[in-house]
Symmetry: C2
Subunit: 230 residues, 2 copies
DNA sequence: CACCTAAGCGGACCGTGGTCCAGTTCCCCC
DNA sequence: GGGGGAACTGGACCACGGTCCGCTTAGGTG
């Protein structure tokens, strides 16, 4: 409560929960790769600063919630100039997305290469059914970050993770024998998994996870009848 | 290009396309009424200023797009203090929503009391089918405003228009004989009509209105089989 | 090892959304 | 008609996101 204007988080104690894999800046989101692959590797100092920024940001999110994260504070806590922060991540949303990235990768690994019923060894219908609950629970555990990143609404549908989910679901639908406009059906299914919607239904409306999951199974059955047995 | 800092829109020529019906400020969005009813009427000068602000804002949106609307400019153009503007509408999103309000009312009138197949004289299945295209086209014609207002993601689901649509669709679903979790099904249907999604599919993905409408019919058929004939 | 250049860096600066509070205006009640 | 108090007004003020541009440094080249 003294006169000093900005709060300092001097070398916070929490460990950096973010891999040091090099993720590129702003516009690389358009990549088609699973999430956003390294690209041209950064100069040594740039990489170091990037890691520091991510660590600081991650720590501050854990402490005060994603909504209260300010760019100034992150830059200050990482002992790095604001310009550097913006150069690396483009904007606030970019930073949040970078924080989300490694968690996103875990989910992607689960449904691309993991064990059944999510992974490729299960029949398409089963995988489709399992996909919804997996995403719902994933988003539920990271919801403040998803919500904060979602603030930039215009970016949602062009993001790599979304596009990956879209093709994944579209393929599963076809494989499961769903007819009609499978791409649009996939969009519907993904809309049901929108972090905002999930959060609203769980938190604001007080619905249970089980109810949401049952809703997903209903939806799958409606859009791809008999998929379970395909 | 001279030194004067802020652009002045001195008494713009376009007519005010917004009814002078008194709409309350920020928090009244929680109302359950069709949109957001008058409530306690404003003091004479407040009402006058409100109208001036709406007229100025509406005009500026028409001229330079909703995305470029700044609160300072609106207040200046209406010859009103910034504090007044914020007191009346709460925040930028509130102002945008107020602009959207009367257009929203038109749509609501169409599906609550209008002629078939949207209005109450048609069978539920028909109304449900007709609802989607009506909303899609409505949103498409006002999309920049919807997109700008949508920037505040956290508010979407608690807004009166959304809640009205939700109960409307839920009732139609039940009436049409859809079983299961009708409320959740209604949420799915409404998700499909999200302005962001509609805009993305139409603009970015280049889908046609017809395709989106066909997708809606598919969806209705999947969630309420045989509704058409109910 | 010295140089050169492109990449990286940082913090002053700006515009905008949003807050605050002292002064003013309206309207109800006497 | 006049007095009292609540509601409204307005613009100075603040915080935050984002930009800009001159300086620094990494790291390749002869």
């Amino acid at each position: 409560m003294n006169g000093s204007p900005s709060y300092t988080i001097g070398t916070p104690s929490c460990a950096a929960p973010v891999g040091s894999g090099v993720i590129p800046e702003s516009r690389r989101e358009l990549s088609l790769l699973p999430v956003g692959e390294p690209g041209p590797q950064l100069r040594a100092d740039a990489a170091r600063n990037r890691a520091r920024l991510l660590e600081a940001a991650s720590c501050m999110v854990a402490e005060q919630g994603a909504a209260n994260l300010t760019m100034d504070a992150v830059a200050a806590a990482a002992n790095v100039g604001k310009g550097t922060l913006f150069r690396r991540f483009g904007d606030r949303t970019g930073l949040l997305l970078a924080l989300l990235d490694h968690r996103e990768r875990q989910l992607q690994a689960a449904f691309l290469t993991g064990p059944p019923p999510l992974g490729p060894e299960a029949p398409a219908g089963e995988r489709l059914r399992a996909f919804g609950p997996a995403v719902i629970r994933h988003e539920h555990t990271h919801d403040d970050l998803y919500l904060a990143a979602r603030a930039d609404v215009t970016r949602n549908y062009t993001l790599a993770p979304h596009r990956l989910r879209l093709t994944h679901v579209t393929l599963l639908l076809r494989e499961a024998g769903a007819g009609g406009d499978t791409e649009l059906k996939a969009q519907v299914l993904l809309s049901y998994l929108d972090p905002m919607l999930v959060n609203h239904l769980l938190t604001r409306r007080g619905m249970s996870l089980e109810r949401l999951e049952a809703g997903w199974y209903d939806l799958v059955e409606g859009l791809a009848p008999g998929a379970r047995t395909a």
